[in-house]
Amino acid sequence: MTDATAQSAPSTEPETIWTEKVSFIDSVPRGISMLFVFAVFVASWQLSTSLGLVSPIILPSPAETLSDLIFVGKNLISGGYMLGALWITVKEVIFGFALAIFIGLSLGVLVGETAFGERAIMPYLVAIDTMPKVAFAPLFVAWLGFGIESKVALAAFIATFPIVVGTAAGLHAADENSRMLFKTMGATRLQTLFSMKLPKGLPQIFTGLKIGAVGVMAGAITGEFLGGGAGFGELIRVAASQLNTPRVFSLILYLSLLGLSLYALVSYTQRRVVFWHTERVGGDNA
């Protein structure tokens, strides 16, 4: 290497190769970093339980939690009663999200596209949005009963607002030139909406959908806590009342998998539909 350099350019000084210094904390690969944080978390958890810092009723040991996690997992796989409960919650989440998307997009278009919607409907939406929506749970139970309907309603109620806001913001995202261009093309209002404004607003709409996907889970579980039924939330409530803390922990973990898959589904759809837009927030292309 040095010989070749010397031969080709004997008069010049040897090439200086320098590399940019990256500090250690920025150079750790993702997998190892995540594993490290997990290990620290579990170690401090183990330490606090084995030193008797907290009562086992309040915080079970990691080993206890793991064995219960396996127990619940077996019950789910073998199609036990927990799978039935999970299925009820899944249905609530799916119906609630579908309802929220339908109402959210419709209201969002009304608010974002028409002056009437912005003047007459938006103020009421903002007013309702500032209310603690969980407080409506007893009302939904009173109106719709202890079945799945009241949970679907609460889930949809919570998830609708971010979708409305996202859709309205998305419709406002179209730039002046695009609007002028569609006007010079002689496009009708509906053509402009469907061929330009809605596609332009998809990134914002999907942001609303993602926030909604998180809200819909919270709504369904809160609905089950407050309105009974036979879903996963009810299992958690019963386990908590029996001071079966390991069970509460493992049920929450499995529930988080449900929330995660819903979020992943929305993310995946976004990448397929809004293929031209590279998202930099949310760690999608980290």
Binding site: S178, L181, K183, T184, G186, A187, S195, K200, F275, W276
Partner: protein, 269 residues
């Protein structure tokens, strides 16, 4: 060099008028600002005109009125013997940004105006013509590429095609290349001249660059601000076709200096 609007010089003097503006004015009711006052001129078939002026001289208002995007407060705008009362198919427009839609491929972007006006089937049929246009602007082979993958100059070429697909009688160009670097800009201007002469298009360019206005135009409309009005129409008598070399000739320099003088004077009027 000073000409009245009714008697344009050069070989286009006999060409039929395409665009006629008489006593066009615009007052914004909201703040009683006179954006445009008593503008009259005629654009003849195949002519290239530029409008130049400092900001606030009503250039963009004039362009929007000509495009049928906003109504004038006074006066008449007539295009091909029919008054302009809204946006029209025979008006093509181009902006500073290419404004291509990222979810459509290049060719889909180009046939969009046809699709919007005549439906999906007509849009499909127009793809044949779109391919021809792409070849004219040197974008052959980029039909199915998404705009994200086009450079700024290529995107503006595609947006030229989109403007031409409806075969407009007049091209309204709102600083179309000012977002490009200077080298691409000069090249695109020569390209624009070539396209306009092959299509025998009537073009109306809004620009901030005196050089650009002089090298491209038969007439330069110099505007003055507060209230926005036409200060003078300067006829450019450089021979056609124009080349970039002409920018070094004394004749070119004299006309640039003359227009700069007008603009400086306009500032303290």
């Amino acid at each position: 060099m000073i000409m009245s609007p009714e008697t344009p010089a050069g070989d286009i003097v006999t060409a039929p008028p395409v665009y006629e503006l008489s006593h066009v004015g615009k007052t914004y009711a909201r703040n009683r600002v006179i954006a445009l006052q008593d503008v009259s001129f005629t654009l003849r078939k195949g002519s290239f005109s530029s409008v130049i002026g400092s900001s606030g001289c009503g250039k963009s208002t004039l362009l929007k009125i000509m495009a049928g995007l906003i109504p004038p407060s006074t006066g008449r705008v007539v295009l091909q013997h029919k008054p302009v009362t809204g946006t029209r198919r025979d008006i093509g427009m181009m902006f500073q940004q290419a404004t291509l839609f990222p979810w459509h491929t290049t060719i889909e972007n180009i046939v969009l105006p046809i699709k919007i006006r005549d439906g999906r089937a007509a849009g499909q049929k127009a793809k044949f013509k779109a391919r021809e246009l792409l070849e004219i602007v040197g974008l052959k082979g980029f039909e199915d590429v998404y705009p994200n993958e086009l450079s700024g100059g290529m995107a503006q070429r595609a947006s030229i095609c989109r403007m031409l697909i409806t075969e407009p009688a007049v091209l309204l160009l709102d600083e179309p290349f000012s977002a490009l670097d200077e080298l691409s800009r000069d090249m695109m201007n020569m390209e624009l001249q070539r396209i306009c002469s092959t299509q025998n298009a009537t073009a109306f360019l809004v620009t901030h660059s005196i050089q650009e206005a002089v090298i491209l135009s038969d007439h330069v409309y110099v505007m003055a601000p507060r209230p926005g009005r036409l200060a003078e129409i300067v006829t450019i008598d450089l021979p056609r076709p124009r080349t970039l070399d002409m920018m070094t000739t004394p004749q070119f320099g004299a006309q640039v200096d003359y227009i700069r003088g007008l603009l400086d004077k306009g500032a303290d009027l």
